[in-house]
Amino acid sequence: MNKTLLVFKKEYFTRVKNKSFIIMTLLVPVLIMLLMTLPLLMTFFKSGTNKIAILDESGEFAGAFNNSSYLEFSFVKGNLNEWKDKLNQNEIGFDGLLYIPKFDIKYPSGFVVYSDKQIGITIQKTIENTLQNKIETMRFIDAGIDKAKVNELKVSIDLQNIVMQEGGEKKGNVIASIAVSQVMGFFQYFMIFFYGSLIMMAVTEEKKNRIVEIIVSSIPPFQLMLGKIFGIAAVAITQLLIWVVFIMILMTVFSLFMSPMLLESVQDLDAIAGSSSQQITDMLGSIEAFNIPLMLFAFSFFFIFGYLFYSALFAGAGAVTDDNSQNQTITIPLSIPVILSMIIMVNVAEQPHSPLAIWSSLIPFSSPIIMMARLPFGVPFWQLILSMFLLIIGFIINTWAAGKIYRIGILMYGKKINWNDIRKWIFKTP
C-alpha cells in the first residue's frame, strides 16, 4: 500500500504545482463572482435615474406616481404630438413619455409609454402597478367600498407540513427540501464530469508517455488505480476548498463595498417578484429542522463515494483508450446513467418515496445523485445503509475492473478495442 501512497502523492503534487491548475483555481472564483454580480452591476451602471414625463389627459393621476432611486416622474402639459416630436429630437431630457388618455373606468385602455429605447421590465412593472392601483381605488370608490377596509380584510395563508417521525415532529418544507436536494444533485453531476475527465487523462498519461511497462512492473494495477483516483479526488477537494474560501472572501469584500446599493436593488427586485422575506426565513428555518449532522455526513458520503465510483469508471475508460479523441466517444455510455439520474431526480422531488425513487437510490450508478435528492424528505435507515454499502462495493469492483482493463488494455497501442474485448479482460484473465 506504500506504493499506492506514492502514486497518490505524485498525482496530487504534480497537479497542484502545475501552473494551469493554479491559474484555474484562482480564476474560477473571480469568474463566478463576476457572473453573480454582473446583472446587478449592469443595473447600477446602465440605469442611473430614468426620467419619465407624464402627460395625463384624464387628470386622475396627480400624486399617484412616487419617485424612487431609479425612476423620476414629472407631469407635463400640452399636446401629445408635440411631446412626441420633442422626445424624438431628444430635446427635453426625458427617457420616456407616459401618455394617459381620458379613459372609461369600466374598460381602461390606451395607456402608452413612448421612448426612444425599449424600457426595462422594472419600469414597465412599476408603471403598470401604479396605474392598476389607482384605477382599482377609483373603482372601489365608485362601488362605495372603502379600500382601506378591504386591505384590512385580506388574508395570507402559509401551509406548513409537519413530518411525523420517531423522536418528535419535524417541520418539513417542501420547497427547501427540493432546493437543497437539486442543488446537491447538480453539484455532484458537475463534479463527476469535471474531474472524471481529469482521471481519464491521468490514466492515459503513462500510456501516452510510454511509461506503462515500468509502472506496471512496479505496482499492481489495482493499487495504481486507487492511487490515481484518490490523488485526483484530493486535487478536486483542494480546488473546491480554495474556491469556497476564495468566494467567501470575495463575497465579504464585495458586500462591504456594495451593500448600500445592493440592499436597495434587492428591495426593488423583491417588490417586483412579490416574494415575501417571510417565506425565505421559513425556508431557512426548515433547513435547520433537518437532522443536520446526519445530513452533512450523508451528503459528504454520497458526494465523495459517488465521485469515486464514477472516477473508477472513467479510469477504466481511460485504460482502454490512448488519445483524447477516443476518450470523448467512450464517455458517452458513462454519461447516460448520470443524465438518467438527473431526470429521475426531478421525479423524485415530486414523489420521494415511489418505487423508482427507492430503487434508483440503491443502485450505485444513480444512488449518489438520487439518494442526495431523497435525503431531505427523510429516508429509512436501512435504505441509507444498504445504499452506502452498495456504493462502496461498487467503487471497489469498478477500481478492480479498471485495474484489469489497464493491465491489458494499456499495452495495446493503436488497436481498436471493442466491448467484447473488455468483457474478456475483466472476466477471463486470472
Binding site: N2, K3, L6, V7, K10, T14, N18, E205, N209, R210, I211, V212, E213, I214, I215, V216, S217, S218, I219, R407, I408, L411, Y413, T429, P430
Partner: protein, 308 residues
C-alpha cells in the same frame, strides 16, 4: 541454486499467435544473458511475463534471489523496456525519486543512489531539468538510471542501445559489464549481434516463440565452426594438394586452410609445417550474425518443408 531465474514450460498465446511456445530456460547468476531473435520472435512477450506485466497462460517462473525475505519480487528486478518514456513535465530528480521509491527504496536511500548514478554518468546538472528539455538520447540515459537505481539483482534491458550515439553506447556497455562483475544478472534482449558478441556470456536464440539455439557463446561458436584456419607463413607451397586439406591462397604469405578430415590441431600444424614456415595459425570462428541468419533461415525452411 546457481540459476537466478528458471523458466519451465513457459507458454503464452494471443488470439491467433503463439507468442511464447512452451519455453524452458535457465539464466545463470551473474551472467550477461543475450536474448536474441528477429522482430516478433517473442522476446518482448517473454520479458513481459518475467516482469509480471502480462500473465502467462501456463508454465512456471522461479526466482532465486540472494536477498531473501523481500516480499515483493518486483522490487528486485530492474527493467528498461523497449517502449520507454518519462513524464515530460516532471523534473529528472523527481522522476527518479518516484521510480526508485516505487521499487521499494526509502526516500533517503533513493536520494543516495540517484546522486551516485547521476554523478557516475556525469548527469548531475540534469537533476532539476524537465524530461521534455532533454534530447532523446539523454532521456534514454535517465531511463537506464531509472532501471538500475534500486540496485536490483536481475536487470532486463530490451534493446538498450537503440537510438544512442556511439559514445553513449560505449558508456552504457561499460556500465553493464561492470554491473555483471558486481554479481548482477543481466538479460539483454536485442537483434544486434555485434553487441551481443562483445558483452554476452550466454545466449538464447528465439524464433517464433521457440528457442532454436541456446548455450555459452563460446560453445556455440565452436559448435558452428567450420574448421577453417587462417595461416600466415614464409615460403611457398610446393603442392596445394595435401590429403584432407583444402588450401586457398588469400595473398602472398596468407592462406585459408579447410580441415576436411578433422585432424587434431597439432597434427594439422605439423602437416603444414612440412611445407612452409608458419608464423601464425588462427581458427576462424563464424560471427554470431552468420549463425543467427543461418539458424533462422534453417528453422524457416524446416517449417515450410513440414507444411508441404
Amino acid at each position: 541454486m546457481n540459476n537466478i531465474l528458471e523458466l519451465k514450460k513457459l507458454h503464452k498465446e494471443y488470439e491467433n499467435v503463439i507468442a511464447v511456445n512452451s519455453i524452458d530456460l535457465d539464466i545463470p547468476r551473474g551472467s550477461i544473458f543475450g536474448l536474441l531473435g528477429p522482430n516478433g520472435a517473442g522476446k518482448t512477450s517473454m520479458i513481459r511475463i518475467i516482469t509480471h506485466i502480462t500473465m502467462l497462460d501456463s508454465g512456471s517462473i522461479t526466482f532465486n534471489f540472494n536477498e531473501k525475505g523481500i516480499k515483493d519480487y518486483m522490487n528486485n528486478i530492474g527493467y528498461l523496456p523497449e517502449e520507454r518514456g518519462l513524464y515530460p513535465e516532471m523534473k529528472i530528480g523527481e522522476q527518479l525519486m518516484f521510480f526508485a521509491q516505487m521499487k521499494g527504496l526509502s526516500a533517503k536511500k533513493a536520494k543516495e543512489n540517484i546522486n551516485h548514478w547521476l554523478q557516475k554518468l556525469d548527469m548531475e546538472d540534469w537533476y532539476n531539468k524537465k524530461a521534455q528539455e532533454l534530447s532523446k538520447g539523454m532521456q534514454q540515459l535517465v531511463q537506464f538510471v531509472a532501471s538500475i537505481v534500486h540496485d536490483p539483482e536481475l536487470l532486463i534491458f530490451d534493446e538498450p542501445f537503440s537510438g544512442l550515439d556511439p559514445i553513449n553506447t560505449e558508456r552504457l556497455k561499460k556500465e553493464i559489464v561492470e554491473l555483471a562483475k558486481r554479481d548482477k544478472t543481466i538479460i539483454f534482449s536485442t537483434h544486434q549481434m555485434s553487441q551481443v558478441e562483445e558483452i554476452c556470456d550466454e545466449i538464447a536464440l528465439i524464433d517464433k516463440g521457440v528457442i532454436i539455439l541456446e548455450g555459452k557463446l563460446k560453445d556455440i561458436k565452436n559448435r558452428f565452426k567450420k574448421d577453417i584456419f587462417e595461416i600466415k607463413y614464409n615460403g611457398q607451397f610446393q603442392s596445394m594438394n595435401i590429403d584432407g586439406l583444402d588450401i586457398e591462397l588469400v595473398e602472398d604469405g596468407c592462406a585459408l586452410v579447410k580441415n576436411l578430415k578433422y585432424y587434431p590441431n597439432s597434427q594439422l600444424l605439423k602437416m603444414l609445417s612440412d611445407h612452409v614456415e608458419i608464423y601464425s595459425f588462427t581458427e576462424i570462428l563464424p560471427s554470431l550474425n552468420e549463425i543467427f541468419i543461418e539458424q533462422v533461415t534453417r528453422a524457416k525452411n524446416m517449417m515450410e518443408a513440414k507444411h508441404e
